[in-house]
């Protein structure tokens, strides 16, 4: 569907959790549907690690439909006839918001001079955007995966800014296993000679490293059953094994395709910074070690959704979050939906999710 593509420069420097601040922050965002005269019908959708503001509009590089096009539009769960839906590219990313590929005052790309940021920093930028847009209180903040982390961070740190919080396939903290997979990805990027300490802009990019990072991560987004159903041990365009290291198996070919496709649309340094922000995410730690404390001042209604085949952010993490919300006395709903596709289920066809989202936002 058609979106309004916009970009703003934040009027004041953005303070960062790591100390210091970021000046002249650009935020690229899209909106769908009209903002009501009372400005009370806005929904902020937060995107995942490799997502972007192209929520329901074609991606400018790949030409593919927006990452949640099936969820956003007239009559859809995020009904653009009723709601003003906003999706902003997170800082640290590479789709128009300030990130490591942005230019510094010296006219050169920031690269590793870009500060390490946190999920809360991303949300602080979203809140600054909402200030500019004159939206005091969102009808809802919605997100899956890293988007869910942002939604939770907004609820915990800016509790007055959203009336509803919908967190899908997410977690309140990155586990050792989550960090471990991200570290594999980062090391793959940094081991690529083209990475060159991050100063590769204008030259060959560390595509091989970034592709491996994406391949490793992509496995974590799918379920074992999903992979087996889709590929099994099927061979790729051949009748027998090659006794070499070509992509003999369909699953290898698929992963290589995922990896190389990803390098065309994503910046390796952004991948380093955003995965770092996710690894640093621990909502309890920010609030004295008790997750319930994070939501002590919450006034929103919460809805937490997990998928039974998601082993990246498994249902146990959602339950942990729900217990904390209950302990904080927040009105919370929780449902574990059955879906075959693992973590990626939140992006794929899931009628049960549509019903929950629609009902919760109503």
């Amino acid at each position: 569907m058609s979106a309004a593509h916009r970009s703003i420069t934040l009027p004041s420097p953005l303070p960062l959790d790591g100390g210091g601040s970021l000046a002249s922050v650009e935020i690229a965002y899209e909106t769908y549907g009209e903002l009501a005269s009372d400005r009370a019908n806005a929904i902020l959708v937060c995107h995942a690690l490799t997502g972007d503001q192209h929520l329901a509009s074609a991606h400018p590089v790949t030409g593919k439909p927006g990452w949640w096009a099936r969820m956003v539009g007239p009559g859809k769960p995020l009904d653009t006839d009723r709601f003003h839906v906003i999706c902003a590219n997170v800082i640290g990313s590479c789709m128009g918001s300030t990130g490591p590929a942005s230019f510094g005052a010296d006219g050169a790309p920031l690269a590793m001079r870009f500060p390490v940021i946190t999920i809360r920093d991303m949300v602080r930028a979203h809140v600054a955007l909402l200030d500019v847009l004159g939206i005091a209180r969102l009808h809802a903040v919605v997100g899956g995966s890293m988007g869910g982390m942002q939604a939770l961070s907004l609820a915990a740190n800016w509790p007055a800014r959203a009336a509803r919080v919908l967190a899908i396939a997410t977690t309140a903290r990155h586990s050792a296993q989550n960090i471990a997979f991200h570290e594999v990805g980062r090391q793959a990027i940094m081991a690529d000679p083209n990475w060159a300490g991050g100063d590769y802009y204008g030259g060959p990019a560390p595509d091989a490293g970034l592709a491996v990072a994406r391949m490793a991560a992509h496995i974590t987004y799918l379920s074992e059953d999903g992979l087996t159903d889709k590929f099994g041990r099927n061979l790729q365009d051949r009748d027998s094994k090659s006794f070499g290291f070509d992509a003999d198996f369909q699953v290898e070919s698929y992963l290589r395709h995922q990896g190389s496709g990803f390098t065309k649309r994503f910046d390796a340094n952004s991948y380093l910074y955003i995965t770092r922000a996710m690894d640093y995410f621990d909502l309890a730690e920010e609030h004295g070690g008790k997750l319930a404390e994070a939501f002590a001042g919450a006034s929103a209604r919460f809805c937490v959704v997990s998928f039974d085949s998601d082993w990246l952010y498994p249902t146990a993490e959602s339950r942990h979050l729900v217990h904390a919300l209950n302990a904080a006395g927040a009105p919370v709903s929780f449902v574990e939906l059955s879906a075959p596709h693992g973590h990626d289920s939140f992006l794929l066809e899931a009628p049960a999710l549509d019903r929950v989202v629609k009902g919760f936002l109503a």
């Binding site: 209604r301 209950n326 009105p331 709903s333 929780f334 059955s338 929950v356 919760f360």
Partner: protein, 195 residues
């Protein structure tokens, strides 16, 4: 929408502005009526994902979970009332579930089908087979009711656990019955319990 008789009675007993947890809330009928009519902070717990989704779609706060495992996560006395409607007999350990219910709620409502109802007794006595009756319509091999209980059994359990029975109601179909002969005459029973 008309509520099941035990739930309708519970709704009349709940004071406005209180906190309620409905354990095994199903499609959320009781929660919805409490939220609409009384401004109650009503929460639900339900094990069936499809029913939870239905509740969420109605705007209710319902958590998917297994009461026998997940009630443990609620603090003592977190609710003014805890409701267990026709769920006790489905528990692995009804006694432990009842204990948890009394821990999280200051007052509890528990309803269940009475296995000592005369129809059930007659069915067992005359056919020698597990009763399939109006109140217990599902065969033994597929029923969720794994711990059948009678009014007399429940009262004995409450006594043994030191739980105070504040009120009792007995039902046959949609009708309320008086107390005498309740263990014979009631298809369903509802108890209001205190510590």
């Amino acid at each position: 929408m008309s509520l099941r008789p035990d739930l309708a009675l519970i709704a009349t007993r709940i004071a406005p502005g209180t906190r309620v947890l409905d354990v095994g809330c199903g499609d959320g009928a009781l929660l919805a009526s409490l939220c609409d009519a009384k401004g109650v902070d009503a929460r639900g717990m339900e094990i069936d994902a499809a029913l939870v989704a239905e509740c969420v779609a109605r705007g209710l706060s319902v958590v998917q979970g297994d009461a026998e495992r997940d009630l443990a996560n609620y603090p003592d006395g977190a609710f003014d009332y805890a409701v267990l409607g026709q769920t006790l007999q489905t528990a692995q350990r009804p006694d432990l579930l009842l204990g948890e219910l009394m821990r999280v709620g200051r007052t509890a409502f528990v309803s269940f089908p009475n296995f000592a109802h005369w129809r059930t007794r007659a069915a067992l006595l005359w056919s020698g087979r597990m009763p399939v009756t109006r109140a217990l319509p599902v065969s033994w091999y597929e029923t969720r009711n794994i711990h059948h209980v009678t009014v007399a059994d429940f009262e004995a359990l409450a006594r043994a656990m030191g739980i105070a029975i504040r009120h009792r109601w007995f039902f046959s179909g949609d009708k309320t019955l008086g107390g005498p002969g309740a263990n014979w005459r009631s298809e369903f029973a509802l108890f209001e319990l205190g510590r």
